[in-house]
């Protein structure tokens, strides 16, 4: 495969747009980790910084979409170029949603800091966030290296995140049954756990875009779905 377009400006456009995705990805990774840390250490200042930083993530998404529209209008991309443009718009959408979940986590840190801690749940959430952040990092590496295998690995790992969520769901339920005073914090903690689980789904969607970009094929629908709480009584 020839690497470069005859029109080198086309290459520059595509590189610029991918650089923005990587920038956005870096900000989102940081947001996940900092939100989790602020929750664990009850660091309200850090939580506030995470909330403020979400604006930059949103702005990058707008920029990426604008540039993608411009490339479509001016260059009429086809084949792998077309798939690249479609994938950047979807990936930026996924990253933006992950950023929102991190922001929401940071918001709840403020409320939770007024309440008693519930066991080591903040630590468990941080571990879960850490796993998702690693998956995101790998998904973005797979994207930039066009590595289908690594992308497949990321999709597989979402199962672990789902299982972590299932475990936390049961734990929170137990705490709430034990003592009604746990209900308020556990509700917030549960929303945080659910947010992290959703982040994992968006990371999975990014990994699927990598497979589409490289092969033109959609991965099988049989992706692991291990979040079983929705059918639990």
């Amino acid at each position: 495969m020839h690497e470069h377009h005859i029109a080198s400006a086309f290459d520059r456009d595509l590189e610029a747009i991918q650089a923005r995705i990587m920038k956005m990805g870096g900000l989102v990774e940081a947001a996940i980790m900092e939100a989790a840390r602020s929750l664990e250490t009850r660091d309200l200042e850090l939580a506030e910084r995470v909330r403020a930083a979400d604006k930059a993530i949103d702005a990058l998404e707008d920029m990426i979409n604008e540039e993608a529209a411009r490339v479509i209008a001016l260059r009429a991309p086809t084949a792998v170029d077309l798939r690249l443009i479609l994938s950047v718009t979807r990936i930026s959408g996924n990253l933006e949603r992950i950023g929102d979940y991190a922001k929401n986590m940071a918001k709840r840190t403020g409320v939770l800091s007024q309440m008693p801690t519930v066991d080591d749940s903040a630590g468990a959430l941080r571990r879960m966030a850490r796993e998702v952040e690693q998956m995101l990092k790998d998904a973005l590496d797979a994207y930039i290296q066009r590595d289908v295998e690594l992308a497949g690995d990321v999709i597989e790992r979402d199962r672990e995140v789902d299982q972590m969520y299932n475990a936390l769901f049961r734990e929170f339920l137990t705490f709430m049954m034990e003592d009604p005073r746990n209900i308020s914090p556990c509700m917030h903690l549960h929303f945080i756990a659910k947010n992290i689980e959703r982040m994992g789904d968006h990371v999975t969607a990014i990994a699927e875009q990598v497979i589409y970009l490289v092969s033109g094929a959609r991965p099988d629908e049989a992706r692991p779905k291990a979040d079983t709480t929705s059918v639990k009584i």
Binding site: M1, H2, E3, H4, H5, I6, A7, F10, A76, P77, T78, A79, V80, D81, L82, R83, G216, A217
Partner: protein, 265 residues
């Protein structure tokens, strides 16, 4: 999406209008086309794309034996039109070209009136017995080429007096006047402005109701817009042939990919 799949399937079962098997073309000692196998479906627009010198025009010209006019040109293999070999000795190339019409890159109306340009083919092929019948054929052809409303009040004026886009549509009217079954177009829009191009493309889409259209184009966007099937030629080989939507989103061959994304010239 489902519609596209259905269209694709429908195209697969459509009977082949033209089947080319093992076609090789030589200009003297130089081989221009190597071993091309392709089935061109009826009532379908097939686009031939590829870089200059890849053999796409040469292949197009094989389909109505236009290459016969070139002394050094030799065609091997078989090309069947409705199952009959067009290179059979008994086939009269003039009759063949009435069935397989052609439109060229530059509009080339005869230095005659608009009416006579269109009436020329039907006259020499004896398609009309009376003047009224001929009038009818001319009107129908001009209507089909979307030129009637513009030309009906000036039929006796010279065809060369029309604008470029109108002249090209006049040539299309001339080509369809003999009721061909296949229409070959060799870069029909390369000398036209965007408006005239859009009109000709619209026309191609309408012609598809009745004819099998094979179009050579250098504009990838045009191939994507007008055709249902696309064939990519490179260095005399037919590299890839398939449903147009598929070729432009997910081509199988790296050479196709490189060409349509603008990575090789």
């Amino acid at each position: 999406m489902n519609d596209m799949t259905r269209l694709e399937n429908a195209l697969d079962v459509t009977e082949a209008k033209i089947s080319a098997r093992g076609v090789q073309v030589f200009y003297g000692d130089t081989q221009a086309i190597r071993d091309v196998d392709v089935e061109i479906a009826d009532k379908t627009v097939t686009a031939l794309i590829g870089p200059s010198g890849c053999g796409k025009s040469t292949f197009l010209r094989c389909l109505n034996r236009m290459n016969d006019t070139i002394e050094s040109c030799r065609v091997e293999g078989t090309i069947l039109l409705d199952g009959e070999d067009i290179y059979d000795r008994r086939v009269d190339p003039v009759q063949l070209r009435a069935k397989v019409g052609m439109v060229f890159q530059k509009p080339n109306p005869f230095p005659k009136s608009i009416y006579d340009n269109v009436a020329y083919g039907p006259r020499i092929h004896g398609l009309a017995r009376t003047r009224a019948e001929l009038d009818e054929i001319v009107e129908r052809a001009l209507r089909r080429a979307a030129l009637w409303t513009e030309a009906k009040d000036r039929l006796s004026e010279p065809g060369t007096g029309l604008s470029g886009g109108q002249q090209q549509r006049l040539c299309i009217a001339r080509a369809v006047a003999t009721e061909p079954e296949v229409l070959l177009m060799d870069e029909p829009c390369s000398a036209l402005d965007p408006i005239a191009t859009a009109q000709v493309e619209e026309l191609i889409d309408e012609l598809r109701q009745n004819y099998s259209v094979v179009i050579v184009t250098h504009s990838m966007q045009q191939a994507a817009r007008v055709s249902q099937k696309t064939a990519f030629f490179h260095l005399g080989n037919l590299v890839e042939f398939g449903e147009t939507g598929h070729i432009f989103t997910n081509p199988e061959d790296p050479r196709t990919e490189a060409y349509i994304t603008g990575r090789i010239g």
